[in-house]
Symmetry: C2
Subunit: 351 residues, 2 copies
Amino acid sequence: MSSEKILIIGGGPAGLEAARSIADLGGDAVLVEKRERLGGTPDSEGYAKLTHHWLDASEVLGKLAAAVTSGKGVDVKTKSEVKKISGSAGSFKVEIDASGKAESLEVGAVVVATGFQHFDPGRATQYYNYYSFPDVITLTDLEKMLKENKVVRPSDGQTPKKIAFIQCVGSRDRQVGNEYCSKVCCGVASKQAVELREQISDSKVFIFYIDMRMYGYWEPQIYWQAQEKYNVNYVKGVISEVLQKGNQLLIRGEDTTMSRPMEVTMDLVVLSVGMEPSAGTRSVAQLLGVQQNKYGFIEAGGATGIDPVGTSQAGIFVAGAASGPSDLDDSFAQGGLAAARALASVRRVIA
Amino acid sequence: MSSEKILIIGGGPAGLEAARSIADLGGDAVLVEKRERLGGTPDSEGYAKLTHHWLDASEVLGKLAAAVTSGKGVDVKTKSEVKKISGSAGSFKVEIDASGKAESLEVGAVVVATGFQHFDPGRATQYYNYYSFPDVITLTDLEKMLKENKVVRPSDGQTPKKIAFIQCVGSRDRQVGNEYCSKVCCGVASKQAVELREQISDSKVFIFYIDMRMYGYWEPQIYWQAQEKYNVNYVKGVISEVLQKGNQLLIRGEDTTMSRPMEVTMDLVVLSVGMEPSAGTRSVAQLLGVQQNKYGFIEAGGATGIDPVGTSQAGIFVAGAASGPSDLDDSFAQGGLAAARALASVRRVIA
């Protein structure tokens, strides 16, 4: 028995867009999301404004989630997980834990949109002392404070006046095993630097970077603004360690533009942590038997080698950060392409 | 009268993917392409290998074009141009010059995939002397020679041994009006540097850059390879002029990492020219009345502000480089999303 139903795993930007596109095209989708809420990482980690649109993350994701849950065509199962899958393109048998109840269903195609998780800066970059010093935080820790419009030093609740971002923490790093660039951290850090300058008007903000990867419109919309309007200081340099000095943090490294060693004190240090495959991406890839790359992301390319949403298995598609570092535009666009491919594949089998 | 037919303008990667997706979903598309051949810029400018897939460009685009022309659902009109369009979502009246014959048709939605053109380095960057010195060429000039496996100095037909790429020519440049980053030139130059090192084994290749924007997998797949396996020399520096010195080229600038002025001679200088809206993108935008941004690209975002393929007009969608700098993955993914949106929009109107 073949089925026209499409299983979407993951309710973040890519999964929601895939679901909406399938429903809009008259298809029949089941969306399985582990968390109680839809919205993916932007929701779970409390993103403030989106990079690069400067729109409110909750509002944008909320509207998309509402369109999916209120419309026809998508059966949304939150607090649910895929436990087992068998079969092949056109006819997969899926076993789901749906809020504690076992369910089974038949689907004709699968869209994997299980996303990423942030690199844990304690794991292999302990020279930054994330686990030892409370005022060493990550992009996601800062994002939550920016959303509340209440940025303070965790150690003493004071407003920080000198703040440094350290880029490429857990990215472009052979030692930790993540050789890829996480694509969005330059943009996100710069966006946060602007928000910091807006929220703490007498702050000084520094970004220590290898290359500022502000591609496309991020260049004028974020990078130039950050420098010219918000006086964010960009320093090409490598930070080798973060130490405590009194109640401040001492960062040590090399200013590569000035070709000299550098030691500066900061009130708050923000680690720009990169993307890694989420636990869900790893486990779903194994469950489905789709090929993963050496980093654990799902290998995209499909049969042609160039299909951004194709996987090693017919009838199984991938969208968004489950296949590697992606920005929001990538996730939406790939969600749409995966929807088109999945829907075409089930209709072809039926026809 | 409303129509389910969808007009796709442009037969490059984004337009072809949109056409294929619409056909795969049982839709009805007309693809209008100005040139005699499909394949867009990768075809017209004779791309050798694709960035970052390292696959043969003609082969990949050829297969995609064949799928579109040989399948059902897409009426392909080459050597054709849209001359006039009126109406609104669900019912547009289109007048076409189809290989010299006037035709008119009704469509329910439009996908604009009219792409980009390369920046003309003679226009405002004459300090590089593109029009004066034959051995100052562009990425696209070099690409054609790489495809033929015959890279020579245009001045004397000799094989160049010292080759320099100058990045960001016509990008990130307020003076020429292109403030944005063209996104792909770092990857393309690095890919070409690798190909040069493969084709001319005793060559030395230099890339002068501001930031190397090798996002995502381009970092390990191209950038690291170029440095470690192919010994491409990356120099963070700004080149201010290119002069003739005997039968060589003298490039002058500043090595910003070494903080010193720099004067080096080269056999061949390659200008990494960025993306600008194609003439077709500009004229089609005006014809359709969709909003363009200050650079002339079509403004994406749609009603929500975050739709990568939405325009200022209902029923009109944009995919690929017509809305700004895009890599091949972007073009394919956006082609699919635009197909899904366009098809949903015409079916909604009909239902």
